[in-house]
Symmetry: none
Subunit: 198 residues, 4 copies
Amino acid sequence: MPNKTAPDSTRRSERSRRAILDAALELVAESGFAKLTIEAIAARAGVGKQTIYRWWPSKAAVLFEACVPDGGDPRAVELPDTGDIEADLKTVLRATVDELNDPRLAAPTRALAAESQSDQDLAAMLTERVLEPQLQAYVRRFEAAQEAGQIAEGIDLRIALELLVGPLFHRWMTRTLPVTHAYAETVADLALRGLRPR
Amino acid sequence: MPNKTAPDSTRRSERSRRAILDAALELVAESGFAKLTIEAIAARAGVGKQTIYRWWPSKAAVLFEACVPDGGDPRAVELPDTGDIEADLKTVLRATVDELNDPRLAAPTRALAAESQSDQDLAAMLTERVLEPQLQAYVRRFEAAQEAGQIAEGIDLRIALELLVGPLFHRWMTRTLPVTHAYAETVADLALRGLRPR
Amino acid sequence: MPNKTAPDSTRRSERSRRAILDAALELVAESGFAKLTIEAIAARAGVGKQTIYRWWPSKAAVLFEACVPDGGDPRAVELPDTGDIEADLKTVLRATVDELNDPRLAAPTRALAAESQSDQDLAAMLTERVLEPQLQAYVRRFEAAQEAGQIAEGIDLRIALELLVGPLFHRWMTRTLPVTHAYAETVADLALRGLRPR
Amino acid sequence: MPNKTAPDSTRRSERSRRAILDAALELVAESGFAKLTIEAIAARAGVGKQTIYRWWPSKAAVLFEACVPDGGDPRAVELPDTGDIEADLKTVLRATVDELNDPRLAAPTRALAAESQSDQDLAAMLTERVLEPQLQAYVRRFEAAQEAGQIAEGIDLRIALELLVGPLFHRWMTRTLPVTHAYAETVADLALRGLRPR
DNA sequence: CGTTAATCGAGACGGTACGTCGCGTCTTCCC
DNA sequence: GGGAAGACGCGACGTACCGTCTCGATTAACG
């Protein structure tokens, strides 16, 4: 067992917590994650460094909590279901494209994605709290479509979803070409051609 | 004109260059990119720090050169063409899967991918020297398949390739599930169902 | 008037007071005054930090109280008077030498002496409660000796005492040579040669 | 053997060394040794902290070097010898009194004296480089006086000197009474009464 | 003999300084 | 002029304590 006794979270200062998260978001927006420092966050938040080290293991963890409001039921993530799988997917993908292109979200998200390559704990949190809930929502929507006969029997829906999401992710990460609504729709068309019965 | 006179590369010590690249690879393998430092590279290589700073703009650039042997014609990258697009793609993807799972390659590659999110120059080099040559090879192979009637007319082949490569890349980066030969083949099957005529 | 209402000493916990003083002595013995911290005293004593800050102005004050049991009448300090000033002084000086060499007393005493160079309040307490009562006892004994004709008329007895005590103190502080009984006796002999009539 | 390779003192920056020593003296004069910090010295001197840590083991060592100009032959310290031991001693003691009362010298000297109670290395340097050379000079002067018949045979001159110096030191350290020329002269008179033949 | 207000243990907080690491620049001496 | 070596100014790290500040939970004098 670790000899470092955990701090008492009931006595935690919510005021400081918010100030730290806000400061982190501001500073990332201003100068990027690479130039983000714990000292700067503490200074901007009007907080002692120890208060950050007490509650977060790394600056990435701070940023994560600032971006992902820590909340609620992962089941809450749900895709629309109008009965038309193609229309629903395109709706969702367009929204996703907009988020990927939103400059306020893009910087921290890219930073977290990059950082999670070397930070195991961060990677686990991202997967568990953000990525998987969304991917599971795709799986559930595909299950409904499969029952409705819009997706061929016997297809691994986990892979089906990746056929859709993978290309978007690839373009966004590699920045080879812009991630547009048109691109998302073409991907959806091609993927669904592969997934439909017959 | 820049006030920093460029070093004279004719007098460069090849011996030092190699020692630096080797040291960088060793150190990344031992402790990961996050703990890689210029000072450690210089010490391990038995080289002055200045010799690194003189020839490379960043530690990422050193690692890049160590991984990508600076090689010749990008056209050299070529996919097999047996006439059977499905077989050829599966051959290539299996090889790709093996590379992605090779622990010696994985660490530096992941590091460069992550770093390129914040390092513009590195991103440009990676795209230009590694990524695009490979993607263009896919495009050329798809063009041949399209002419042979194995891919439907009117399909954007750039997107076609991303349908194939994107899912692999997604799994590898997010580490949600293992990247296996079976996975690659299923992806190829589904993607080709979407790309074939009819 | 001060805005800080003085604590009510009638409600003070004697149990905590003792635990703090004991902890301070233990910790000084273990690691020296320089490494002594309020936090460590509180932890060792099983006491809140505030309980220390409430009752003592500094860690030096804690240690002082631990060493000097806050005792009664300063007049209580009295030198022996057998009528033979030389014998009496040597008796006292031998005891003093033993105290100076006692390792349990030496560490805290040296610490307080050192600290009092920069801590005015501590210096005042040490002088008033420890040093002066002892020096006054010497003065009173010398007065008796002077009346008995063992000390020349007209000699400033305050200085006489310093002739005796100063050398001991000098050796002890500077650690140039060991402070022994023999040394004390030689000092007493030489000093008394200077002080006696004729 | 220590694993910390010693820095190469031939490449040391004399400019930085002087700036550090000057800054230390200034800061001690302004706020006292207790408030002196390595960071403040570095900042005032326009120097990196590491440059201080590289060359000195503690802030006390910095101050010591600033006060004791590191120099020359300890034999250089010599007391006057007019043939009259009493006159010579009083001359020297008056000068000593003036130094002890000089506010510029007093602060750092007191600090070093206090610090040497807990810092073994500093204590050794002070003894070896400052204290002993001076005490030895007294011993040599007393030897001459003894040969001249002004000091009784058989007296331990090391103790003789402490009879003189001890009282001054005691008053100065304890601040019980002011250290004046008159005091020094009375001490010299009484001590010499004890030391002279017969 | 119960009330109640101060003290208590505990420890989070905003800070300051610590001593270390690594950066990128610079200087020196060697080949 | 390149290279090995490493001192330098600098900035950030993560830790240790400071002295102050809340929190219940005793606890002891007083009503």
